[in-house]
């Protein structure tokens, strides 16, 4: 069994948002929902100041609080690779998972709408078929790609190659190597979630 995970090298990231948009088009997410936003925070005082970029996504926690919070067991963790998924058919729209996630990684899809307003474009029409209104949505680690042997869209598009994807349980994988070679941090360690996404500062 594998534990798929991602190592994000923050030193490489230039905050260009390519990952954010590649994710949106790959997954066809409804307007306003970004599974992989890049957050920005300023650190330091002029002139020793800079913007710190933090690319994010679902952490695919080893112990996912969203899964525990879900009243209808709609959230599960795939045995074969540890990907955490929401089953829309089982989701009752309670938003308990959204409240439980310490990372803000779950989103609520209210109702069908278009990015340009009332008129919904053809790619959106196609994409929105996959989404059930009134359900929780989140990053799937692009499980549909992973199942075909491809890497997630955010990894593939990243111009600086700052996202590295692989099996955390395989000591030979690039992600494991990086975690051995360099210091890494998990977001919100206090939450005790054991996330599968790690950051290299």
């Amino acid at each position: 069994m594998a534990r798929l995970g991602m190592v994000i090298d923050l030193a490489r990231c230039v905050g260009c948002d390519a990952c954010t948009v590649a994710c949106q088009t790959e997954n066809g997410t409804p307007p306003g929902i970004q599974y992989a936003p890049v957050f920005r925070k300023e650190v330091g005082k002029f002139p020793q100041a800079k913007v710190f970029f933090l690319p994010t996504l679902c952490m695919h926690c080893d112990d996912p609080p969203c899964m525990k919070a879900c009243p209808t067991s709609a959230i599960s963790k795939r045995k074969k690779d540890g990907i955490v998924l929401v089953d829309q058919d089982k989701c009752c729209g309670s938003k308990a998972c959204i409240a439980a996630c310490p990372y803000g990684a779950l989103h609520f899809y209210e109702k069908k709408s278009g990015m340009y307003g009332e008129k919904i474009t053809e790619p959106e029409e196609q994409a929105l078929k996959k989404f059930t209104p009134g359900t929780a949505q989140k990053c799937t680690f692009c499980s549909h790609r992973v199942d075909r042997g491809l890497e997630p869209a955010c990894v593939v598009t990243c111009p600086t190659n700052c996202r590295i994807f692989g099996d955390l349980d395989n000591p030979e994988s690039r992600v494991s190597q990086l975690l051995r070679e360099r210091n890494s941090v998990a977001l919100r360690p206090d939450a005790g979630t054991d996330p599968s996404v790690r950051y290299l500062p």
Partner: protein, 855 residues
């Protein structure tokens, strides 16, 4: 199950093409499902971007499906033109539109073809080459580059032409260990070849390359730098020259061998500033130390060449150019530069020292069995540094930092984008002029090189290019000339403007003034995907094909869009992934329909045969009429062989013609033409401009035609009326390009969520002193009375004397609901004024003083 899909998919294909969301040309593959484009990815095999795509590239198809797209030809029925004026469009047929246009074009062509103006930034590949041939066949010289040309690479391209012999350049990040960026964000997904450079830059930074970012704004590139050096806008040349001074006069660190062999540094200079020439041959002289006598620069009998010193010749002490240069830069002390730039003198000395040491003068590297100089230090520059009144001198000053340490076209330094090709189908290489300086040839000459200076004459073109002998384009003067043609002694006035992929009302300077200029042109035809501000001023709007609906042979020009240094030669195609929506058509294809109606098709073909050097049996026969695709097919076959027609390219997306040889990758030591460190030819060019403009009675600034570069204050620096205490500058975000991307739904969403996109950035301390807090509505006002309003964002990442406005936002066309009045329109603050245009490069000064107040 996740992703339960109800209907089975009939068609699911990937089509290779070339992106066009900015002026770069990344290889893409486009996923079409049941006839609808659902996804764009980078093409992993394309050497342009190796599978990477930025946010813009990922979002490209959303513009295609924009519900507000122009889909049919339309005629304006409201003669009143203006912002927020309803044009009262009436749908017409293509036939009616083309007949109306043809009638006007026929009349113009019979009277005076110069009365037609074409404005576009669609200047490359099949579309670019073909509309230019069309314009030439029609007989108009009036090509108006549009907004981007007002302050794009004006002070960059002529400098790279002079020093590398090619239109573009980039730092050699593979080998560079110390990189300084002046007003550019290479590696942060902006500027040139952004995917390639982003990956290389991240690798290099991780590998220990030191990155110094000189910029008033530090939110992107500055944030990834080892050192962000905030600088007062418009003063980059002062920093560069002070660094050169430290290297030459304080540390004695400069590459004597490089300067002697590859620059005109050893040329002897007369008292009047001109070369001392050989009486017999007229060639510039250098001093032979061994023989103690001057010889023509290319005399094979040379013993050893003197780079420095003064030599007694015919009773006079004659200095070398380098001697004058070295003495000249003494005035640029770190202390004086400090008061100009606000950078501490110690920092300037340290940067110079680090740069000089990093260059490792004397070191070598062996690549492919050839020993080459290794100079792993480079300075790169772009709009931030050069979009100023004295932008060309600034560009030269920064590039001379590279020149003095020998970091030009050698591993680790600043490289031209392919000054030399020895690989089929095209071969080119710069040759020495009579004076021994770099002159690009062949394909590399297809843009206007600054040298030799073009003939100065009374202007006929509305961009006054005749008065700009060393500029790449004169675009910026267009507005001036339209507003006041008599001032420039222009004897006619444009009657018709055709505009496509150019939005001068947003991307140039103050839109109200631009609107005045546009309204003076009696008839305007706009090809448009989106109903841009400029399209709204048109008399006829025609639906233009989106780039994912369009065919373009060879969109990536190898002196621009093939990475410099080691790598591959490749040629790409942009192809229609879906049929055009509505009645849209590729605009240049339409021009060729008009060519038939005007009877100029044959002439255009003849010009194309010559421009593209098309060989039989593939040359265009003037008597034939080819489809757009067949035109591409013949071109491809002629260049790449009968088996490499358009179908081959459509299937494969691009053709790799070879791996670059070391002589192509690092050209300097394989070439003899020299770099003008002392720009002697400027003296004559300036004298000519002075003479012609004086004869015509045109007031024209010729002060910058000087052989030795220095820093000069731009209007915003010099002119400070109390209260107008901040410089306002424009900065680039990695997910927007020009005005066009601001209405893309995915990119507009990023703008909404990015705190820096729609705001007015103010230094936190400066703002607090003015009683301004983040979130406050503020007004920025120039002395000319131009003003914008926006929401303040207090930041530590901006120079205390500067207000920053991102991108090209604040759209004015109501048809663009997602971006209408969103964010702040920077260009509104820029006056159109001749005195704000760099007389050498025709760049519009892109910073201005403002008063900032809370509303």
């Amino acid at each position: 199950m996740l992703n339960s899909i109800t209907k089975p998919v009939q068609e699911d294909v990937w089509v290779k093409s070339t992106c066009f969301m900015c002026w770069n040309t990344c290889g893409i593959k486009v996923n079409k499902v049941d006839g609808v484009i659902v996804k764009i990815e980078g093409d992993p095999d394309c050497p342009q971007n190796w599978g990477k795509t930025c946010a813009k590239g990922n979002a490209g198809h959303m513009s295609l499906y924009d519900p507000n797209r122009v889909l049919f030809p339309m005629r304006r029925t409201n003669p009143v033109k203006g912002f927020d004026v309803d044009p009262k469009w009436e749908r017409i047929s293509w036939e009616e539109a083309l007949e109306t246009i043809t009638a006007r074009l026929k009349k113009i062509r019979a009277e005076d073809p110069r009365k037609l103006v074409i404005s576009t930034f669609d200047t490359r590949g099949q579309s670019g080459v073909f509309w230019m041939a069309w314009a030439a066949a029609f007989g108009t010289p009036n090509q108006w580059g549009g907004g981007a040309n007002y302050f794009c690479g004006n002070g960059f391209h002529p400098v790279t032409y002079l020093t590398h012999g090619t239109w573009f350049g980039e730092p050699d990040i593979r080998h560079c260990r110390y990189l300084m960026l002046f007003g550019t964000q290479n590696g942060s997904v902006s500027n040139h070849l952004p995917m390639d450079l982003a990956a290389k830059m991240a690798d290099a930074r991780m590998d220990g390359m030191k990155l110094i970012v000189v910029d008033p704004v530090g939110i992107n590139a500055g944030s990834k730098a080892h050192e962000w050096v905030p600088i007062r806008p418009g003063t980059d040349a002062a920093l560069a020259l002070a660094m050169i001074n430290v290297l030459l006069n304080e540390e004695g660190v400069y590459d004597k061998e490089f300067l002697t062999k590859y620059t005109n540094g050893p040329y002897l200079i007369r008292e009047d500033g001109h070369y001392l020439r050989d009486h017999e041959t007229g060639k510039p002289l250098m001093w032979d130390l061994a023989a103690a006598r001057p010889r023509p620069f290319d005399d094979p009998a040379f013993g050893s060449v003197a780079l420095e010193g003064r030599f007694l010749i015919e009773g006079k002490q004659i200095p070398t150019a380098f001697t004058l240069f070295k003495e000249h830069v003494r005035q640029h002390t770190p202390e004086s530069a400090s008061s100009i730039t606000t950078i501490p003198a110690d920092t300037i000395r340290r940067l110079a020292h680090e740069f000089g040491q990093a260059a490792q003068i004397g070191s070598t590297i062996v690549i492919d069995g050839k020993e080459l100089p290794l100079r792993p230090a480079a300075a790169s520059w772009y709009r931030g540094a050069i979009a100023h009144k004295h932008g060309m001198l600034t560009g030269l000053a920064i590039q001379f930092l590279n020149v003095v340490v020998g970091a030009i076209d050698v591993p680790g330094g600043h490289l031209g984008n392919n000054p030399v090709s020895q690989t089929a189908p095209l071969h080119w290489s710069p040759v020495p002029s009579a004076d021994g300086l770099i002159m690009p040839q062949g394909y590399a000459r297809r843009r206007k090189p600054p040298y030799p200076a073009t003939k100065v004459k009374p202007p006929e073109r509305f961009d006054l290019l005749e008065l700009c002998p060393v500029a790449p384009y004169g675009t910026t003067f267009f507005t001036e000339a339209l507003l006041d043609p008599k001032r420039f002694k222009l004897s006619y006035f444009p009657e018709m403007l055709i505009v496509c992929r150019s939005n001068p009302l947003m991307t140039c300077a103050n839109p109200d003034r631009m609107a005045e200029a546009l309204k003076k042109i009696p008839f305007m035809v706009a090809f448009a995907c989106e109903m841009s501000e400029t399209a709204e001023f048109a008399d006829i709007v025609l639906p233009d094909a989106h780039y994912l609906e369009r065919l373009d042979a060879n969109p990536n020009e190898p002196t621009e869009f093939v990475g410099a240094g080691e790598g591959y030669w490749y040629w790409m195609v942009r192809q229609p992934v879906v049929p055009p929506r509505g009645e849209a058509r590729g605009w240049v294809e339409v021009l060729y329909d008009l060519a038939d109606r005007l009877g100029i098709r044959g002439d255009a073909y003849a010009l194309l045969n010559a421009t593209l050097d098309l060989k039989e049996p593939f040359a265009y026969k003037p008597t034939e009429k080819y489809s757009w695709e067949e035109l591409a097919n013949r071109w491809m076959k002629s260049w790449f062989g009968a088996d490499k027609g358009i179908d081959w390219f459509k299937k494969n997306g691009f053709l790799i013609t070879g791996k670059k040889k070391v002589e192509e990758a690092y050209t300097r030591v394989f070439l003899t033409p020299r770099i003008p460190l002392y720009v002697e030819y400027f003296l004559d060019a300036g004298a000519e401009v002075r003479k012609v403009t004086e004869d015509l009675g045109i007031r024209w600034d010729t002060d910058d035609y000087q052989a030795l570069v220095n820093w000069k204050p731009c209007p915003a620096y010099d002119h400070s009326v109390p209260g107008y205490d901040l410089f306002v500058v424009n900065f680039k975000l990695p997910f927007h390009s020009l005005s066009y991307t601001s209405h893309n739904a995915l990119l507009a969403e990023l703008s909404e969520k990015n705190p820096y996109a729609y705001s007015v950035l103010l230094n936190a301390d400066t703002a607090r002193k003015k009683g301004i807090r983040s979130g406050d509505r503020v007004r920025l006002e120039t002395e000319e009375g131009y003003e914008v309003e926006g929401q303040a964002l207090l930041t530590e990442c901006i120079h205390p004397e500067v207000a920053g406005i991102a991108g090209c936002f604040g759209r004015k066309s109501k048809a663009l609901q997602l971006s209408y009045k969103k964010g702040v329109h920077f260009n509104t603050l820029l006056p159109h004024a001749t005195e704000r245009i760099d007389s050498l490069s025709a760049a519009l000064d892109s910073c201005v003083r403002v008063k900032v107040g809370r509303l």
